[in-house]
């Protein structure tokens, strides 16, 4: 009963629940734009596989946030999948620690063509704050070809969605 009551009360929570939390202005229009592009270019769905190669964990948390009921990126046609074999796109965070280089390469190789790689967060670009560490490969581009970078440390959920639009439009 409580669940049913809550479901009705919360409705389809795709908007900010509360005006005092409404830092998400523009989400609906941005989302509609993303949906349109994905409809056209990926016939309705873009499947993303995420790999963490040594980030601090904040980027993962923000990627998960894009799937929460407030942003709900899935309704725009983006879904995060459990296997590289199901994926169109590989989303990589972290500077690539030496221990993860091989796993990253293998994950990339396991993806079917056509495929592309997006990096997310400052350390994925060139190592960022971990650039001078002895045990990193200084960015994803040194291991696999990268098509696009989403900047931020970490990027906010809405920024991730906007960046995806910028990239997909140009593609």
């Amino acid at each position: 009963m409580r669940i049913i009551k809550n479901r009705i009360l919360k409705g389809i929570v795709t908007k900010p629940l509360d005006k005092s939390f409404s830092l998400n202005e523009g989400l609906e229009t941005t989302g509609a734009e993303l949906k349109k592009i994905i409809q056209e270019k990926f016939s309705r769905s873009l499947h993303i596989r995420e790999v963490d190669t040594g980030s601090c964990g904040a980027c993962e948390s923000e990627i998960i946030s894009t799937t929460n009921p407030i942003y709900d990126i899935q309704r725009f046609g983006v879904s995060f999948v459990a296997s590289p074999r199901h994926a169109d796109c590989l989303l990589v965070t972290g500077p690539v620690s030496k221990n993860m280089a091989l796993a990253l390469k293998k994950t990339y190789d396991a993806m079917p063509e056509p495929k592309f790689v997006i990096t997310l967060g400052r350390c994925a670009l060139d190592g960022g704050i971990f650039k001078d560490a002895y045990y990193t490969e200084k960015g994803v581009a040194n291991i696999i070809p990268v098509a696009f970078h989403i900047p931020g440390c970490p990027p906010k959920p809405l920024d991730i969605i906007k960046a995806l639009i910028t990239f997909l439009k140009a593609r």
Binding site: R2, D52, G57, F130
Partner: protein
């Protein structure tokens, strides 16, 4: 209890006089000969009834030709951290292993071996933790004379513990997992359905953070500490800053301390609610999970409103917090927290009133108190198994003003850990509201301090458990050595014990009920 009584008892039991070389309000350093190091640690361990908080080495060969080894214990009774210090010769570095007598020393010793090349003599397990043997040869990166990046070594396989017997099979999982989560390798040995052994191999995210700290100035190092574990960035920067404050001899104002406590508790709130949702996800109960995600997002947005950062980064500096505080912020926070509490109560009731949910979490993944003590488990996991250890109570500082009430559970199963999070969420909310009423508005203050040469321990009760930073600053005012002991480092071991006898589908549930950091463990 006075620390002098402890020292007296220690000296009587040992039969030799230990030398107190350094004393601070909450730290005491005892210097012993390397030959007495092991017995001193064991005796202190028994006298204090405390687990090893940290065990680490230092390369001082440039100045004195020796390595130094430090073993620390936290004593709630004397409100002091005890450090046993010994010197190890630089020519043939080795020391007597503690691992056979104190199990929790084992991981620290393996770390010392791979990072410094100091041999823990008598430790039965000297496999490497982070510098995987198939990736690089032995390089000892924390030695001061290490400078070149590792060459790719000869492939040398890591040997997993093997269970043999009829019908026993292995299930390897990872390093890349199905979810949006960090990398780690889990090797299950199964006899039919039940798990009879689980070996966890981590270190995939190792970047060499401790080495990276060396030579950094204080502001640079604070930024780096925030990237040690992104979901506990405030606790990390707080621990680091308290260490620097002790070295520089400054005390932050009460207002600053209360603000810090508010942010530390906000960090706890968003992570605890995230875990409550995560536990629901892992049993396929999606409604409360989605609900919890909404609450988490609300807390993150509150964080942004208060500090400009969703993950409370760039807030701490030695002696100050780098933000303004006014009445509007306090009111906004109070209002937001009221709504958050309402939603939280709903989630709690949905979870605890579902019979099928309770059936999954009740009695699953039991971590026995004895095991938890042997492993030196800290934080939520320890308190769920009946160990009353919480730095907010043991070394209360500003928390004494809010009359902080620690919570504890006895059962040690997933439900106990869930109940811990629920109870801590409520207590944290109370503490935040208490402090919000006491904090007076303040403008942004410049952090004003003169860094000196010295060393100190900084600590905070992060949401996972006790987080400590032992920092040494050299005469140029840059970091000489920074040893981070993340709560996940010891708690990962506990996970491999608690799943025994359960089935593989219960593993994600147990894993989430601990919710440990890959990044903080791997460094």
């Amino acid at each position: 209890m006075d620390y002098k009584a402890v020292l007296k008892e220690l000296n009587e039991k040992l039969g030799v006089e230990t030398k107190t070389v350094f004393l601070r309000e909450d730290e005491i350093y005892l210097k012993v000969n390397l030959n007495d190091f092991k017995t001193t640690c064991l005796t202190l361990h028994k006298v204090l009834l405390a687990p090893i908080a940290s065990l680490f080495a230092l390369d001082c060969r440039k100045d004195s030709g020796v390595f130094e080894i430090y073993c620390s214990f936290a004593s709630a009774k004397c409100k002091k951290w005890f450090f046993v210090v010994a010197e190890i010769s630089g020519d043939d570095p080795k020391f007597n292993s503690l691992a056979k007598d104190i199990y929790s020393a084992s991981l620290f010793e393996r770390e010392i071996k791979e990072m410094f090349g100091i041999e823990p003599y008598g430790n039965p397990d000297t496999r490497r933790l982070r510098l995987h043997s198939e990736i690089c040869p032995e390089i000892y990166p924390l030695r001061k004379d290490f400078n070149k990046p590792p060459a790719r070594g000869k492939a040398e396989d890591y040997v997993f513990n093997k269970v043999e017997g009829e019908g026993i099979f292995e299930v390897p999982v990872g390093p890349v997992h199905a979810g949006i989560i960090g990398p780690g390798h889990f090797r299950f040995s199964m006899a039919g359905e039940p798990i009879i052994n689980l070996e966890i191999r981590l270190g995939f995210k190792h970047r060499g953070i401790e080495k990276l700290f060396e030579g950094k100035t204080i502001p640079e190092a604070i930024n780096l500490s925030e990237c040690v574990s992104g979901d506990a960035s405030f606790a990390n920067s707080l621990s680091f800053c308290t260490a620097i404050e002790k070295i520089a001899g400054i005390t932050p104002s009460e207002n600053t301390q209360m603000l810090r406590a508010v942010f530390l508790e906000l960090e706890r709130l968003y992570n605890h609610i995230n875990d409550m949702g995560g536990i629901a996800v892992d049993v396929g109960f999606s409604f409360p999970a989605a609900f919890a995600q909404i609450v988490k997002e609300n807390i993150l947005q509150l964080n942004e409103k208060l500090t400009g950062s969703r993950y409370l980064k760039n807030v701490n500096s030695p002696g100050e917090v780098k933000i303004t505080w006014d009445k509007e912020k306090a009111e906004a926070a109070q209002e937001a927290l009221k709504k958050i509490y309402k939603d939280f109560k709903e989630i709690k009731e949905i979870l605890l009133s579902s019979v099928s949910f309770m059936d999954r979490v009740d009695g699953t993944g039991v971590l026995k108190k004895k095991t938890a003590e042997d492993l030196g488990v800290t934080g939520v996991a320890a308190r769920a198994s009946g160990i009353a250890a919480d730095l907010r109570k043991d070394f209360p500082g500003i928390y004494a003003k809010a009359k902080f009430n620690p919570v504890k559970q006895e059962a040690g199963d997933c439900l106990a850990r869930l109940n811990m999070r629920i109870a801590e969420f409520e207590e944290s909310l109370r503490v935040i509201c208490d402090f919000l009423g006491k904090i007076t508005p303040q403008p942004q203050m410049a952090s004003n301090y003169n860094i000196k040469e010295g060393f100190a321990l900084g600590y905070a009760e992060a949401w996972r458990g006790a987080l400590t930073y032992w920092v040494k600053v050299n005469k140029n005012g840059v970091i000489e050595r920074c040893k981070i002991t993340d709560p996940s480092f010891l708690n990962w071991q506990a996970l491999s014990f608690c799943v025994l006898g359960d089935i593989i589908p219960d593993f994600p549930l147990c894993n989430k009920s601990f919710d440990l950091s890959y990044s903080g463990n791997d460094l």
